[in-house]
Structure formats: C-alpha cells, structure tokens
C-alpha cells in the first residue's frame, strides 16, 4: 500500500515550509526513518524522515517549492504498485509542477548535507526525531509484560529480560516490582504525560474592546511609571475604627480610602486629571475616579463621580453597588462613563506591585498592590513591623512628566498616611 508523505508541522505556528532539497530521488529505496528531504521553516532547516519503507515512487513538489503543512510531498510504495496521485494536489506549492518534478541532480552531486544549516527547533515537536534510547517500543517484551509495565509504571528499558532473546516477560516485571528496583513512578524517563488539546475561544465583545483599546494605548501612548511605598498603619487603624460602627454590608474598604485620597490629590494636580487631545490637553473640572472591576472574561471600570467632594461612606456605597452590577452584567452606562483617572487595585490578590496600561484618553492610572506587614526602620533606626503598600502610577508623557507624577504620589501619601484628612 503506497503511503503519502506530507509536509510535517514542525512548530506551533508553522503554516508552510520550503522544500529546500530532496535527499532521495524517485526510484530510490527508502526505509522508514530515512531522511527524505530537507525543509526550511521560518525557524530552521530540518530533515523530513520517511514514515514508510519502500521505493520513492513520486516526488510531488520541486525543490524550492513552498508547501503548506499537511500537503502531499512524496509517495512511497512498492516497485510495481499502482499509485494514485493525490486528487487536486498537483504538487502543492507555488512553483510545483508534477510533470517536471524529476530532479535532474543525482544524489552524488547534490549539495552535501552540511550545506544547509541544520538546527534543532527550540519549540514545537519534531515528530521525525525518534528518541530511540528511551522508547520502550524498542524493548523486546511480551504484550503481558508491556501491559504490566504500563499499569505499574515500570520502565521497560531498565529491565533485563529473562525470556528468549532477552524478552521481558511477566516474571521479570514481577521481580522488578517485588524488589522495588525498577518502578520509576514519576521518574525522569517515563513520567506519564497527559496531552491536553489547544482550546480556541472566540473573543467576546468585551474582550474585543479591551484588546482594541489596550493595544491602542500601549502602542500609541508613551507611558512612564512612578512607584511609591505608602505607610498604611494609620489608614488601616482608622478603617478598623470606622467599620466598628458600620453594619456588615456597609464596611469601608481600603480601596474606598484610596479612591477618596486619590480624588483629593487630583484636585491638587489637575494636570493628571486630564486627557490628551491631539494639539491640546483637557484638564477636567470634575474628579471622576474610575475603579477597575474584574468581571466574567474581562474588566470594567466603574466611576465614582465627584469623589473629591463626596463623603467616604457615600463613595463606598456607590462603588459597592456599581461593582456588584458590573459583576452581574447589569451595569448602567452612567456607572462606567466619564472617568477622568483610573485606579486598578489588585491588593486582594497579595500583589506586591504592578503597573497598568493607561485607559485612553485618561492621562494617568494608578496600580495599587497589597498592604503588607513588612519590617521597616523607624525614626530611631530600629527595625519593627509596619504596614506598607506599593502603588505605581502610569502617566501619558505627552501630558505630564516624572517630577509632577512623583509629587502627586507624595501628595497621595499625605492623605493616606494622615487619613483624618479624608474625613473632613
């Protein structure tokens, strides 16, 4: 039965390969595993081994042809066997012509193998490369022994067979199991590998929007970043004190304090409460702080409007309502529009620090990490425990510069470290 050899897929993203050179010509004997051709992918030049033994009956593409993966490149069969050319596949590739495929070059004058640099792909499977010394298929073993080895995770290659010709038989597996020599559960050679298929998921509208806006932002807006570490002991103590008077569903979060603090700091730094608009910068009158909320398959930014003027409790209650709506997919347009500055807080995930991509057209965004108990050096030079939180602001460099951002971060410290300011 003639076998068709196809262009192998040699890398995750390989779509096609160039047939650089035929190593075997039509009419030549070939054994399974013999090199049939050399192909070039966008990563490397590699050898294609024949998956069948017999005679190379037909080479279907010219040297130099670009062939899509999976397309037939050659047919291997027996000498007189009638072969059928692949239907509609008159030699895949740009300059392939089945009538002129016969290579004129004889193997002896073909370029030497080393003429084409051979490199091993760093990623992606190379199915034509047998790892013979690790393959239990090369071990002579009875079917029963193979099954037992499989079931008890014994490496057949490490067992000396006692059967005829060194065949591994039941007794050998039993001996190996009883002496405990050869089971290699979790060992380096035959640790079982479970194959998980790739999964393709269509982009939701939300995902599409995120993809579009983030790509636009990261590729067109010149970002710069300033990080600061805040002493959180005072704000945490105040929060604890306030929350003692509040019912369970009205407790104020650390993030609520941050929103209020950011809003007050922005009032001092109108240039960071701004948007870049081509030939001008718009400094917004209102301080509307957007808060990123993780939702199913994406994120939404709900907006705490006029946060600089609203009491902490009101900010907190509004954000709770909007965040819950966003997670339930019942967000109101008004809740997600009009932000002039955004906060992304990953503090609940024990994140030390991260940086965010600007949410266009806003000029700045604050990425907030976790408040963590860390050793700190106090005024007297003593080391003691303290609560610290790192935050990083990303800024549109067309609008502002590092010094202004740094001063904003210092101003923010004033509110977070003396949190009574947030209550007046």
């Amino acid at each position: 039965m003639a076998e068709t050899i196809t262009m192998p897929k040699l890398g995750f993203d390989m779509q096609e390969g160039t047939l650089v050179r035929w190593v075997k010509n039509e009419g030549e004997d070939i054994k399974k595993g013999d090199v049939l051709a050399e192909i070039e992918t966008d990563k490397a030049t590699v050898e294609v081994e024949s998956s069948a033994s017999g005679i190379v009956r037909k080479l279907l593409v010219d040297q130099g042809a670009i062939v899509p993966i999976g397309s037939a490149i050659a047919i291997v069969g027996t000498k007189d066997e009638k072969i059928e050319l692949p239907a509609g596949d008159k030699g895949a590739g740009e300059n392939a012509a089945p009538t002129s495929v016969k290579p004129e070059t004889k193997p002896t004058i073909a370029p030497p193998l080393q003429a084409a640099p051979k490199t091993v792909l760093t990623a992606g499977p190379i199915p034509t490369t047998p790892i013979t010394n690790l393959n239990s298929g090369d071990v002579k073993a009875s079917p029963l022994a193979r099954r037992m080895a499989r079931e008890s995770n014994v490496d057949l290659t490490r067992i000396q067979g006692s059967g005829p010709g060194g065949r591994v038989v039941r007794k050998d597996i039993e001996t190996a199991l009883s002496t405990g020599q050869s089971p290699v559960a979790g060992g380096p050679y035959n640790a079982p590998v479970v194959t998980h298929d790739d999964e393709t998921a269509a982009l939701t509208k939300l995902r599409q929007a995120i993809a579009r806006r983030m790509t636009e932002s990261k590729t067109t807006v010149p970002h710069f970043y300033v990080s600061h570490e805040y002493k959180m002991d005072a704000v945490l103590a105040l929060r604890k004190e306030i929350n003692e008077f509040l019912p369970e569903n009205e407790k104020i979060s650390v993030n609520d304090f941050i929103v209020k603090a950011v809003a007050l700091a922005l009032r001092e730094f109108p240039n960071l409460n701004a948007s870049f608009a081509g030939d001008k910068v718009v400094r917004h009158g209102a301080v509307n702080v957007g808060v990123a909320v993780a939702v199913q398959n994406g994120l939404l930014t709900v907006v705490s409007k006029d946060a600089d003027q609203k009491p902490l409790h009101q900010i907190s209650m509004n954000l709770k309502r909007m965040a819950a709506g966003a997670r339930d997919g019942k967000v109101k347009p008004d809740d997600i529009e009009g932000s002039t500055f955004s906060i992304s807080n990953l503090g609940m995930y024990d994140v030390e620090n991260f940086i965010a991509i600007l949410n266009p057209p806003e000029a700045a965004i604050l990425a907030v990490g976790s408040a963590r108990n860390v050793p700190v050096v106090d005024e007297g030079g003593e080391i003691k425990a303290g609560s610290r939180m790192k935050a990083t602001i990303s800024v549109d460099h067309r609008v502002s510069d590092g010094a202004e951002a740094a001063r904003f971060m210092q101003a923010l410290a004033k509110y977070l470290e003396e949190p009574l300011r947030l209550l007046v």
Binding site: S142, P143, L144, A145, R146, R147, G163, P164, V169, R170
Partner: protein, 323 residues
Amino acid sequence: MAHITMREAISQALWEEMERDPAVFIMGEEVGVWGGSYAVTKGFYDHFGGERVRDTPISEAAIVGAAIGAALVGQRPVAELMTINFAFAAMDHIVNEAAKLHYMFAGQFKLPLVIRTVGGGGRQLGATHSQTPDAIFAHFPGLTVVAPATPEDAKGLLKSAIRSNNPVLFIEHATMYQVRGDVPDGDFTIPIGQSKIQRPGTDVTIISYSKGLEISMKAAAELAKEGIEAEVVDLRTLRPLDMGPVLESFKKTNRAVVVEEGWKSFGVGSEISSRIYEQAFDYVDAPIKRVAQDEVPLPYNRTLEQAALPQVEDVLAAVKEVL
C-alpha cells in the same frame, strides 16, 4: 456411573435415542447385518430391523444425500461414513446442501441430520485413510462439528446431536474406541458448543480436542511430575467454538500450547491462537505454540507414521518452549 469404552458410550447413545424417538434411524455402509466397521451398531439390526438400520451401497454421496432428504421430510437420520476420508466424496452434499439448506430456504426447512464418521491416523491405514481434516469441515458456517475425547462427552454430545435440528458432523477417532471412562447412568445430554476444562492447572494452558486431548492429558501428567501444572481445555465442539474457558484459562496462565492431530497449516491451532491474540493480547507472555501432524501425507510405515503424528513428547517440548 459406569466405566465403559468410547464404543459402548456411542452405541448406548444411538440405542437410547432410537428407543426414545422412532424418527431416528441409521444408514451407512455395513452398519446393519455386519454391525458397523467399528462394531458400534452391533445388535442394532436384529433389534430395530432393516427399516431403521439400513445398509447402503458404497456411495457416500448417496448416503449423505439421502439422509438430507429424509431429514428434510421430518426423519432424524444418523448417517455413518466409514471414515472421514470418504466424506470428501460427499463434500458437496455436506457443505453445499446440509450446511446451507436451512439458511437458503429461510428457515422453512430444518435439517435434523447427524453424520457420524471416523477420523485420525495411527492404524497404518495409509495416507488416504488416515487423515484428520476436521478443520476443513469446521470452516463452513451452518455445519456443526463435534469431536469428543471421552466416553461421557461422546454419549452426551451424540444425544444432543441427534436431538438437534441442525446438521452435525460427529467425528470419532479411529484409535479411541477402546478408551474407557466414567459415564453417568441414565439419560443425559451435554450441550453442543461448550469447551471444558478437563484438568485444572496454573502454569500453562493446553488446548486440544479428540485424540489431541488424550496426549495432552498424558503430557500434563508428565509435567505435573516436574511441578508444572498444565490446565487442559477440551474444545469438544469445533463449530460453534467456545473460547470462554480457553480465554479464562489463558488470562490466568498467559502461555498456551494448542494440540491437534491435523496438519498445522490453516488448522485448529491457528484458529485458537489467532483468537487468543485477538481477544487476550495484553495477557500474552510468550508466543503460542502449535503441536500438530508433520506436513506430509501420513506414511504407512508404523515408525514413520508415529513420527509424523503428534506425540506426548511433542507436547512436552512445546510446553517447555512457552514456559
């Protein structure tokens, strides 16, 4: 429980069935006045008369053809072919008619026919009278092929064959009529199409039937002296073939030898080992060995004949190879 010979067991089965059912009758060469070539029907002619114990001309085609006709119209003929070698002369009737009529007439006709015949070598009867072509007949769907190895099985299976509404080729072995064994008293039958463990064991499975079973049992006894416990499975029926006990045994021992008197090529051993490979591949610990007759027309010379036929020593050697 009576300790009787195979001949007596077969004779009893025929006698009892003829007494039980007036539709049962015997026909064949020398079955009547002479009492049968192997004396199985001795006394039948005097007791049942010439109508029910019919001597026929020397024409196997006529015997089987007439028996088929009788079966089609409601009789239960037991046709005897003096040896299975002569069944070739009736081949068309056996495989083209007996095996197919029920099927080709869409079940409108039943064929309650038994063809008793004698196979096997070892009696210096020469190449044309000493064959064991059981596998040939077992090849055809529609034909039941039974070949017992013990008096009990012979009696119980022959009774089942006579009561069966399907054509049955009942093969007796020429050298086993004097084999003795315990046979239950009274009327009993043994179902067709059931293999049987004749000797339990743990180390290797020996599968055989008919004469092959006899030498397999002797081999198993020899092996036991060396501490090797062979489990011996008797197929008893070649078609329909019951692989259940064979596979069950093989999954326990993981090693098998198939013993038959016929030739190895395209034989019973080939069939059995193929089915084991197909149905119990993951239990195979060694290649299955076949013990069979040498691939020559069986010689007349006693020494050569015995050399060509499978012997206990051949079974022992095969078992040693698979262990």
